[in-house]
Symmetry: D2
Subunit: 336 residues, 4 copies
Amino acid sequence: MTHTPLRFGLIGTGRIGQVHAASIAADPDAVLSWVADPFVDGAQRVAATYGGTATDNADEIFASGAVDAVLVASPTATHVDLIAQAIDAGIPVLCEKPIDLDIARVDALRPKVAAAGVPVALGFNRRFDPSFASARARVAAGEIGALEQLTIISRDPSAPPASYVGVSGGIFRDMTIHDFDMARFFLPEIVEVSAVGTTTFDDGAREHGDFDTAVTTLRAASGAIVTIVNSRHSSVGYDQRIEAFGGRGVLHVANAPSSLVSLSTADAVEAKPPYEQFFLERYAVAYAAELREFIKLARGEASTSPTFEDGRAALVLADAAQRSATERVIVPVALG
Amino acid sequence: MTHTPLRFGLIGTGRIGQVHAASIAADPDAVLSWVADPFVDGAQRVAATYGGTATDNADEIFASGAVDAVLVASPTATHVDLIAQAIDAGIPVLCEKPIDLDIARVDALRPKVAAAGVPVALGFNRRFDPSFASARARVAAGEIGALEQLTIISRDPSAPPASYVGVSGGIFRDMTIHDFDMARFFLPEIVEVSAVGTTTFDDGAREHGDFDTAVTTLRAASGAIVTIVNSRHSSVGYDQRIEAFGGRGVLHVANAPSSLVSLSTADAVEAKPPYEQFFLERYAVAYAAELREFIKLARGEASTSPTFEDGRAALVLADAAQRSATERVIVPVALG
Amino acid sequence: MTHTPLRFGLIGTGRIGQVHAASIAADPDAVLSWVADPFVDGAQRVAATYGGTATDNADEIFASGAVDAVLVASPTATHVDLIAQAIDAGIPVLCEKPIDLDIARVDALRPKVAAAGVPVALGFNRRFDPSFASARARVAAGEIGALEQLTIISRDPSAPPASYVGVSGGIFRDMTIHDFDMARFFLPEIVEVSAVGTTTFDDGAREHGDFDTAVTTLRAASGAIVTIVNSRHSSVGYDQRIEAFGGRGVLHVANAPSSLVSLSTADAVEAKPPYEQFFLERYAVAYAAELREFIKLARGEASTSPTFEDGRAALVLADAAQRSATERVIVPVALG
Amino acid sequence: MTHTPLRFGLIGTGRIGQVHAASIAADPDAVLSWVADPFVDGAQRVAATYGGTATDNADEIFASGAVDAVLVASPTATHVDLIAQAIDAGIPVLCEKPIDLDIARVDALRPKVAAAGVPVALGFNRRFDPSFASARARVAAGEIGALEQLTIISRDPSAPPASYVGVSGGIFRDMTIHDFDMARFFLPEIVEVSAVGTTTFDDGAREHGDFDTAVTTLRAASGAIVTIVNSRHSSVGYDQRIEAFGGRGVLHVANAPSSLVSLSTADAVEAKPPYEQFFLERYAVAYAAELREFIKLARGEASTSPTFEDGRAALVLADAAQRSATERVIVPVALG
């Protein structure tokens, strides 16, 4: 099957935008046509490296008539408007998570997305990690029997700057949101949320009334229980593990080794180097796979890209966790 | 330091009673003097194997004047009275967990224990597992910095008979109680309990309104969060793991390998045999260490034996978890 | 099947003799009746702890008419005479390895052993390690297809005193002899030996013309190749691993963990404590199993105890390795 | 430091030639200018994908005046002449291993290489594997004390076709040659070679008088011993491990996991998927690093590229191993 490469407009050229630019340039089915960023220097640098025309105004992309798909990697507050603009222009869009920090704005956009025939995908990159995807496929294939417990350990290497914490929407909407989507990747029907959050080490979290440490439990309609263990720091590096426990077996996803070398001495044996440093390294392959799957979606082919509804569901769970952790109640949820 | 061996009276000769009888016989500082069980055949078999005089009436032991310590391994409902009897007789007592399923009965006994100078120890054997004990000592020594998250995975090989479930007091009082004590081994000051329980596979649990699957989160006064993941079954064998996550590092306690052999084939590599089958095998060394520590306590020496108060605290946490899981509320607790 | 316990005479009460005394005392089918050691204090201490009559003269044991089996744990130079004496007395004997350092003396004894109906077993304890035994049984059952390569890593924690090196017979006869037997446990028909030895760290070895580091390759009649990697020291503790490589899979036997705890920090992750310190700890279970198997042999039951011929074969291989390493030739051997 | 990209001429477009073409295209400091292969279709396909002018005649490359470096990935028999041609043209050359199967031809070329100022590098890609390179650097830094034993396990997934075996030069020159270079990467001064080879499963090897299974031991001038365990097949996938044993510790390089997922069931726990399938996957990163290092060499910068002398030394060791394995002698070597 040969195709003309999909012409991409990239909006936002921060750290994650650059990752997407590189993925687009490396994918034989994609080409970078336009790059927008209000800080036009960034757009120009990305365009110089990976191709395309730079602009400081995303409107130009939609008006160009020269893009087949848009990739939104701009600040969260711009996502809702850019998705709406893409729908209006009839251009498939892959938007970074979260859709928005405010569920009201998400719900306001929801009918438009549902009515439009335009593909809208959410950037939950972890679904495309080969190991997580394999574990989920093996669970779905019945290899471990009924899934009874899903345990997600998810810890970032170090806490973000206090200034970021203040606008992040809180740990559940900013960080756990990936884990909520991972929970739903295995168990879509979550019916109840309980969360506990504490602040044990990060002054930024303390200053902004946020948590740096949290544990969330989710109950699925099937009776399965999901446990999410989060921390904003991890001295050993990026900590991303999953254990799927079923009636007939258990699947574990381990951390990615940063090297194959281990050291044994009189003090300790089989000691390995610390894990991959952060998400760009850990999920490099996943970002490329995410793009390939979105290209299928944009072309109208069968695709497993996470949807707008997946993005909304993760935010509903994050809101419920935030409420549970602050009001000390257990919160029923209806994702339908 | 040489001592006359401590003369033990053993009450109860079921599975766990036999373990203690063997430990007493093997310990150079202990000797089995009396063995009581209403099913006197059991008492006689144990006495024939490990020494001592058999009786069907525990009163004889207290009246004998020939025991220096009593080990209570009889059914839970008898524990409170036997502890009281031991105190009245001035005989140090090591009692299997739990003290009782009813906190009111425990609290009624509490002042007597506090007032008596007689040592009362609780049989929380896992504290004496060399690996758990080492992990806790290393945490206490500051090796991983401040303890921020403690994750306990605790799954039994298979669900007990429905008849047992009916009188067990429920999964939290019967099974998680060990994990509550382990939580307090690392973090004594627990201030809040939240639990979710479901019934996903066990008809016995369903019949008796119990859970077969549960996750409990505990908040410690320090801000640390404990997560306890429980299941009444585990196809891979007895699953007993702990992860202590601190600001400067992480300590993991793995499952005990049942063999050093692993197999690699075209289907899978480094596959190991399933884990140790159950607590008698997994904690064999711990039971012996528990006894040695109790002997020190009985002799008035410095000892780390868990106390009556530890036994009571575990039950308070179990009651709170039961209430949280059934009423869907988060429950503050005061253990003082 | 009930039996009268076998009455053992133990000859030699050094470190390994004490291990056997404890095994005899712990085995319900064995009882320690006599204990001999020219240093009669040692004999008396062992007898006081584990039972039996102490003597400074092993002849008394043979004359007593009160032993059903003899366990020889005395210095190597006495083994041949004691085996002969046991045969003359018609008493089954379990003799520590090696039979002798001089193959001529072994061959002189050989016809007597062959002619006598008296069971003679050799103390190759590692065959009874549950993990090695399991690996060998699985190979024999065809689980990995034809066995093509057997790799044995065998390193002692630290070099013996120079005085011991001088009388040890050299690394191949003293240390590798266990590995030669392990090789033959998997592949009895060895036809060729090649060895290289060097002296890299141990002054004792240098002084006595011995090696502290050696690698031996054996060719089996089947075409399989055995590799034995030895060192007289190992900073990480006793290093005892085997890899059996077959056409359809690989079985690995790992070192025994001394704890289930691992530590992860910013410097290194999953670091475990060093291995078990030495053979008494590593092979504790194996010594007990070795004794049980010998008891079967002594009773005329089916038994897998290593034989005199096994002991001789290991020495033949050790001699060939010594010659290969010193004369720099490859040495064909005929074990028949 | 900015440079004009190095213009490469690639000679040979088989499997390994294509790998190099991709590396050249991906490296910002390199550009593919010419591609030669007598099967000009191959050259054209590579040029179409990665750039450059295709030809069926390598002479055109040397005559073009438009290449700054040559990469030789043609059949072994052509290597000597192409290196000579590159030297005559004054063009730095990176040549795949081995230089030739005949040491006489290598030695005939040797003075020319030594006299010329033209950089000649050999394609021992494994030196550039990040894990092997890290292990070697840590050994060199003294992290494990003096290196006493180096154990290399190196097994290919499956035996090559019989037709290839017939022209391969035999297992030592074709396959072990990589391990000989790895041995010298850690211990350059090898003074003695002993090898045993057998044929246990491969009819192709049997037909051509070659071995499919081999173990080689090397003695280094320092007294360190290298053991190389080879097989032409491995049911678990490409098996590439190293253990560097020193006086103060041990460094292990494990196989590369093909996934982070492991499965635990009632049959087996912690079972992982088989290893990476073969050298293109396992050493993908190494090929790119090898190229970067050669670019430095070609530019006259400090470089760790393996040299012509390294290529010759590996062949000397292979010849010695071949002689040892066939004549059953231990062979001293002088690499100087």
